[in-house]
């Protein structure tokens, strides 16, 4: 089943030493569904590579960067600590974003693609007019992202309203606003769709809505805006 990215407490060797120092390491969360369960919207090959290779690489590099940061702080090496920030933002952001992404997806037989009922559905209709308009807006913004990035549907927990935002590379959503909580994120890095859709990102964006897990998004929304 899907696990949150729990720090691995029971460990040996290198990780044990880190536990002594209180450093957490992160592991790859499992998917709640098979790699091939999201076909034909996203192919099993893409899901496997995306999860086992890309996400795992982010986690590995994030752990490495955290270890180096820990060393630098212990030694009082400020310049190294600052230099590592971009690696942490990139790899840590990648880990955070992808963990949300796996929860944002669900196979069709488990509710993927089913529009949200309840307060989130009502809020979408209020803010954007209709589900179709929201999808059109997110697809337009997602297609317009230059290079690599993400497109998000988020709730501003201070202002209690829904926003559509894009972030570049692996920047987490909070870089666009400290009070933004992501509800639905779509990865528009080329690795997320290239093997299947080649350069036709708009087709990928059109099809991914068939497997978006609105139940998770509704849960997060209801927690932030009861």
């Amino acid at each position: 089943m899907a696990l949150r990215a729990l720090p691995n407490v029971k460990t040996l060797g290198r990780l044990y030493r880190q536990q002594i120092r209180g450093l957490q390491t992160f592991t790859l969360p499992d998917l709640a569904y098979d790699y091939g369960a999201l076909e034909p919207a996203i192919s099993g090959e893409i899901m496997q590579l995306h999860h086992q290779k890309h996400h795992q690489t982010y986690i590995t590099n994030y752990n490495k960067a955290l270890e180096q940061l820990d060393d630098a702080i212990a030694k009082g090496d400020a310049s190294t600590a600052v230099k590592l920030q971009s690696a942490i933002k990139f790899n840590g952001g990648g880990h955070v974003n992808h963990s949300i992404f796996w929860k944002n997806l669900a196979p069709a037989h488990e509710g993927g693609g089913e529009p949200p009922h309840g307060s989130l559905g009502w809020a979408i209709d209020q803010h954007f007019g209709s589900m179709e308009k929201l999808i059109a807006k997110m697809n337009a913004e997602g297609a317009a992202v230059q290079g690599s990035g993400w497109v998000w549907l988020a709730v501003d927990k201070e202002l209690k309203r829904l926003v559509v935002e894009t972030t570049a590379n692996q920047d987490p959503l909070v870089t666009k606003g400290a009070s933004l909580v992501p509800l639905v994120g779509i990865d528009v890095w080329e690795h997320a769709y290239y093997l299947q859709y080649k350069n036709v990102r708009p087709d990928y964006l059109k099809n991914i809505w068939k497997v978006i897990n609105w139940k998770y998004a509704s849960g997060v929304y209801e927690k932030e805006c009861p």
């Binding site: 590579l49 290779k53 290079g147 570049a168 692996q170 350069n199």
Partner: protein, 300 residues
């Protein structure tokens, strides 16, 4: 006064006679040519009094009326009504399967045929607006639209067109090995050794975050070679350095062949694809703009 004009006039007549009539039309010497070539000499036998003073004023726009005996030249006389393209899609100088097995035919078909072609078509669509951006060469267009760090929307497509042209030229079938002659000397001078450079180049390619390019540039001010990285569509042209080689680290460049194995892609590029011949040629051209080292003055 009349004599001065006569002297001036004579020179113009002589000059005009030497030019081809097509050019003369554009330069506004039409009137002058017609005087000599059509037996109207009777009119201006006396060169002291030119028949049409405006002939000396080359600001007169070329007349679209035909003179006797002139064939209609469509491309000169008729203004084009519908300009449909400004830049064309240049194909690589090798066949798509020439880079196998290092870069597959499929990758080239999609990368060139869809990505690069898409950029060219977007660029032409932007330029069809026929506003202030029309009329620049591609290099100039990139510099102008970069706008010193605040890029205009046309920058991405224009720069990507240039970047991809440059990238196809940076590769060749049977590439790799090592550079020769002056380029090798300069690399050894600036990086220590060729293998140092290769390691640094690959390292840089692997630590690039997101989409971007890795370049070998000749820095104008520092007069040395360096490795540069840029994100998305940015190119060293924008800050006036001279690129010699590029490696496309956008995922679309390697995903079909190597999936997420960037390291293998970068190594294969360096070992089997990179065209040191083109880098050498670009370096030679760059030396017209940048003085590297002391000039070699032969002694006796």
């Amino acid at each position: 006064m009349a004599e001065a004009m006569a002297r001036f006039g004579k020179k113009q007549l002589v000059v005009a006679a030497r030019l081809s009539s097509g050019r003369c039309e554009r330069l506004g010497f039409k009137r002058v040519i017609s005087l000599r070539s059509e037996g109207q000499r009777g009119k201006c036998e006396n060169l002291n009094t030119p028949t049409n003073i405006s002939a000396y004023n080359s600001l007169k726009p070329p007349s679209f009326k035909l003179d006797k005996g002139q064939r209609q030249k469509d491309h000169v006389l008729k203004k084009p009504r519908n300009i449909s393209a400004y830049y064309n899609l240049k194909s690589p100088s090798y066949k798509f399967d020439a880079l196998e097995p290092y870069m597959s035919k499929r990758t080239l078909e999609v990368h060139w045929g869809e990505h690069h072609r898409g950029y060219v078509e977007s660029l032409n669509k932007y330029l069809a607006k026929d506003d202030i951006l029309y009329g620049y060469t591609l290099d100039e267009l990139i510099r102008v639209t970069y706008n010193n760090g605040n890029p205009l929307p046309e920058f991405n497509v224009a720069a990507q067109v240039w970047n991809h042209d440059f990238f196809w030229e940076s590769m060749q079938p049977g590439g790799g090995n090592s550079p020769i002659l002056g380029l090798l000397q300069q690399i050894e001078k600036d990086f220590g050794s060729f293998s140092n450079f290769k390691e640094e180049f690959i390292e840089t390619a692997l630590t690039l975050f997101g989409s971007g390019w890795v370049w070998l540039v000749l820095k104008r001010n520092e007069k040395r070679l360096a490795i540069a990285t840029t994100t998305n569509a940015v190119t060293p042209l924008a800050w006036d350095d001279i690129p010699l080689l590029s490696l496309d680290m956008w995922e679309h460049a390697y995903y079909l062949d190597y999936k997420n194995d960037k390291a293998r892609y970068a190594n294969v590029f360096m070992d089997h694809l990179v065209s040191w011949n083109s880098a050498l040629a670009r370096m030679a051209r760059a030396q017209a703009f940048v003085n590297l080292g002391e000039p070699k003055i032969p002694v006796a």
